[in-house]
Symmetry: C2
Subunit: 341 residues, 2 copies
Amino acid sequence: MRPTIEWNKNKVIMIDQRKLPAEETYWECIDYEQVAQAIEKMVIRGAPAIGVAAAYGIGLGMMNIKEDDNRASAFDIIYSRLEKTRPTARNLFWALERMKKIFQKNQNRSLSELKNTLLKQAQALEKEDLETCQQIGSYGADLVKDGERILTHCNAGALATAGYGTALGVIRSSFKKYKDIKVYASETRPFLQGARLTCWELQRDRIPVVLITDNMAGWLMNKGEISMVVTGADRISSNGDTANKIGTYTAAVLAKENNIPFYVAAPLSTIDFELQNGDQIPIEERDPDEVRKFGEAFITVPDIEVRNPAFDVTPASYITAIITEKGIARRPYHKSLSEFK
Amino acid sequence: MRPTIEWNKNKVIMIDQRKLPAEETYWECIDYEQVAQAIEKMVIRGAPAIGVAAAYGIGLGMMNIKEDDNRASAFDIIYSRLEKTRPTARNLFWALERMKKIFQKNQNRSLSELKNTLLKQAQALEKEDLETCQQIGSYGADLVKDGERILTHCNAGALATAGYGTALGVIRSSFKKYKDIKVYASETRPFLQGARLTCWELQRDRIPVVLITDNMAGWLMNKGEISMVVTGADRISSNGDTANKIGTYTAAVLAKENNIPFYVAAPLSTIDFELQNGDQIPIEERDPDEVRKFGEAFITVPDIEVRNPAFDVTPASYITAIITEKGIARRPYHKSLSEFK
């Protein structure tokens, strides 16, 4: 398998995550609009991965400008298109802001130097994300014991990042360290990232994994079959409130009720230090047909009213610890997270 | 639409609930084995409805015996087949036991009288179930206020009973009484009773309904968009612990955490007075392919390990009240339920 996302001969190439695990096909982008659409349509998803994609989107968009074009206005158009793709994940904006700084610093150099510098920055961001995940994995494994039965929701794996994963990074590192680790993957309706992506990723790495529907985790916790929870994050406010895939709040409440630790694994690029709390995080509401359909077939009355929030916010009080590349943060997060800033 | 289940010209006819809402087709049984398979395959489902089906299964099985057959051994064979169909719902066993008493009392009468008496009993049980649901609805509506936003899980509606429904009976009666009632139906993976059946039923009755995935209810409670929960039940032990569709426990924990009332609506035939608590309720584990597939297509790695418990048990401590046809029971349920016995 090729990486989740890569730069290859003036193209950005991504594995098409909508088709997995049935088909391993690739989405090739020759302009930034295709990158923007890939993010919107969830060809690529996962907060760190869409950050990398946005950076490559800038790189690709600027690669195509001509000597006579107005660089600043070209940059703004590309930037504006990419920042409108999805609203919740902090990493998207974080990556775009980093690219903007590089642009501003280098915009008066020769066009080829500018293009090269932007591309190098996007590639650096990809490499950095992989290393970050490995550090998260290493810190996180310290919180895991042998024999652990770990629930994870959605996919915070290699597919959600430049590689290795955040929550699945913790699981990968734990699996290297211990003999007896087993993962419960909740399927994660409506997009089925758990069933389609997490099961596929973990099975390829021969990490034992059990698939459950989203409504089963609570009962398995109550029966003592799940001993901890680890998820990724899309945006964390400065007080530790965490937006992540819809269903994460539910898993956190269930963990608290059953005295099971609930961990969030995320790079510092996911933390939005400008937000005081989770109420300020914008929550994307997606197409109702994602809920009404499974593949192309309607599973309900076709014109039924639907709610489809893609994320929820887990209050910091439910989160046992936040695992970052600089170490493990505990309550009060306002203090512990700012120390990693 | 014809009833959920009916006796018609020496056949038992049921709407095929696996095909709804895409197709309205009927499953016709000319022998008890077809009734048993209908229960196993979930052509018919819902605790009260499978109780009625089992009673008709006895009636149909005995209708086909001949003058020379050994009545008692024929009855035992039919009874044994039907009682092995599904393990959790109390109503199945309750209905079979009622049919057995009628058989024992009438087995020495003429064969045509015996057949007629058993059929009449099954029909009486169907009629009684409909009336019971209407009484549950009437009592339950007293717990509902105008403006209520009601979460229900799975389908405890007309399709799960002889008609009107238990949880949906409460909703139907409330909708008659008040102007502003809205229902949130969780889709109920893996079998999608919420998406397929509850949405279909409520839309036909013009009761406003919003479809959500199972992992959204918690977040909507937290945001104040859901104000109460009402579900059905498959078996209630004498202390009030309630087995119901997988995911019910999760909804109850979320309701408690968000200070929202959580109601169970069920006929007294669902109560197993011989069980002291929910640990004694057998929980059915169904075919893993129900989780691996959606329709005929795999949604995950085909050989992935799966858990598929069809029910969970909600401890009585999470249940605000149990709505029965004789009135509303509150904690301690051991006392309040036994008064309705």
